[in-house]
Subunit: 335 residues, 2 copies
């Protein structure tokens, strides 16, 4: 760690984040259950096989088209459990409130949490409330931790991609990141864009019912590019992405052109990235497309022998370039 | 809720906190597992009986005599699991960092987390790191959620106190709260005082091995007074506390006299409050005293029929007064 102080890049889900997690947290807390880049731990307690995960949510603004910090806090943790192959069951809810925050807005967020929990079929079973003085937080920060039940078979994991495997995505990318970006500042843009925040358990259940998969990822902070890099590094394989086949909606594409952004780095909050063996690829794609949240699922690339850890992108004009993990983040407090 | 905005009182663990939790969170999220004032939910998943709890830590200062925000975040959640009668097993760790925070201090806190986890016999198995811009947090906030294994019998719960039961405390009260208070501002006091932050699992294990108990509480925010009020309200009984018998160390008593505080309202982070039937009271006291963390355990009161929900204190001079739950808190960010 050459840095002496925390920068916004350390929270971006890219290289600086990974370096901080590895060199500070994993180094000091090392144990067999702690296995980044998987978001959930898999545990066996008294014969029950469980997934356990946590995430804090600091999104700004707290209300945005398509959702709010409450629904995001439920869906994000539900999706981390789904990505481990688990059936999400129970969440904890801990809020840090800034003195002066509106109780009306808090009630609105709590109702959104209740609705999102009900949609995802999970229950909030324990909680905590802290208040800090004005200027020591920004309105409300939420942490949810979640417990899910793992099925009998080997759970999907980022280190299981093998040469020849296919890479699928469940729908158009970048919608959450683009929405938050469009909400901030005074861009004066009139774009019809909404966050994709949604629980992935229905879609994941349908997929895993149809076939075994190698890796599942919920490509949030750092976007599709960072999730692909995590899989390539953990599995020590290369990944070739076909740029043309990656689904990007018109509004997201427009915003990216105006602001000079790459949708591959924008956060998603309701998309599933799947790595599956070639013989199961058609079944997986059909299972995704058979669910309302996976109608636009596509095959977007495949796993190659190497260079290990590298993601290459075949561009529309026929070239190839390295799709690096982002060094920092375009925008803090995206989720 | 007549208040329109969040005040520091809503985070104090007293009346305002309880009202916020009941009228906003419990109201919207109601389900059979959500059962304040118990800090942990008790769940049955695939035959395993588990306790699940969460707490955020925003303590200021982050380093204090006897501990730091890292050890507090481990011990606090371990103790919530212990108070449900569970054996703590696994914790999650989520940090919110302020841009500009020192990485050297972060490493020191992480090592403290590692040491506290090792002492308590738990593992940190999953985590999350968020960074917010300068001025949107204060250095570092930590959330830990925890999973513990429940034994076969009925777990202790705040609603199980009955007339005639005895009330015990495992040691002198108010040391964490007094330490944080002495650290703040420029009191210019030279007191030999340290936080009591410590994991309660050894002590709890020894107690529960010796006898069944009715209620267990870890009297943190709001102190012994708030925990007794929670038990009285949940069990619909009265509690009579014998002021003379409550152990208070000399330094805590000194600070309270100087600042005009009542040690009964100061936070504890390594004390166990026990309600036990009269016939098991001697065995419970002996079990507590047989452990290094319970050497100074005392019987401090008993449960009476009524008035239901009321805690009465018999003062040194022979009078009786109501020991109310604190309306707010003496100090924000105590834990």
């Amino acid at each position: 760690m050459k840095d002496q102080f925390i920068t916004l890049n350390h929270g971006g889900g890219g290289k600086a984040s990974h370096s901080l997690v590895d060199r500070v947290f994993v180094e000091a807390l090392r144990n067999p259950h702690l296995r980044p880049p998987n978001d959930s731990a898999t545990l066996e307690i008294a014969g029950a096989r469980l997934a356990f995960t946590t995430d804090s949510y600091t999104v700004d603004p707290i209300f945005f088209p398509g959702g709010d910090i409450g629904s995001l806090a439920v869906n994000g943790t539900v999706n981390d459990l789904c990505a481990s192959g688990a059936k999400p069951l129970y969440l904890s809810l801990a809020v840090i409130l800034e003195e002066g925050f509106s109780i009306t807005e808090l009630k609105r967020i709590t109702l959104s949490i209740a609705q999102a929990s009900s949609t995802a079929g999970v229950q909030i079973v324990t909680g905590d409330t802290k208040v800090v003085p004005r200027g020591k937080a920004d309105k409300i920060y939420i942490n949810t931790a979640g417990i899910g039940l793992l099925p009998g078979d080997v759970p999907p994991s980022a280190d299981q991609a093998r040469t020849g495997d296919h890479v699928l995505i469940s729908g158009p990318i970048g919608e959450h990141g683009a929405t938050i970006m469009a909400c901030r500042g005074d861009l004066g843009l009139d774009l019809d864009i909404r966050s994709d925040t949604a629980p992935l358990n229905g879609l994941t259940h349908q997929l895993l019912d149809a076939c075994t998969v190698k890796c599942l990822k919920d490509p949030t902070r750092g976007g599709l590019a960072s999730s692909l890099n995590e899989i390539a590094a953990a599995s020590q394989v290369g990944i070739e992405l076909d740029e043309e086949s990656v689904p990007v909606g018109g509004a997201v594409r427009g915003l990216c052109e105006i602001l000079g952004l790459d949708p591959l780095y924008l956060a998603n909050e309701g998309r599933l990235l799947v790595v599956v063996s070639p013989e199961r690829s058609d079944a997986a794609l059909a299972a995704l497309r058979g669910h309302s949240m996976g109608r636009d699922a596509r095959r977007i690339g495949h796993v190659v022998a190497g260079p290990p850890g590298l993601v290459l992108i075949r561009t529309a004009v026929g070239g190839r370039r390295v799709l690096d993990m982002t060094a920092g983040e375009a925008l803090p407090r995206i989720c």
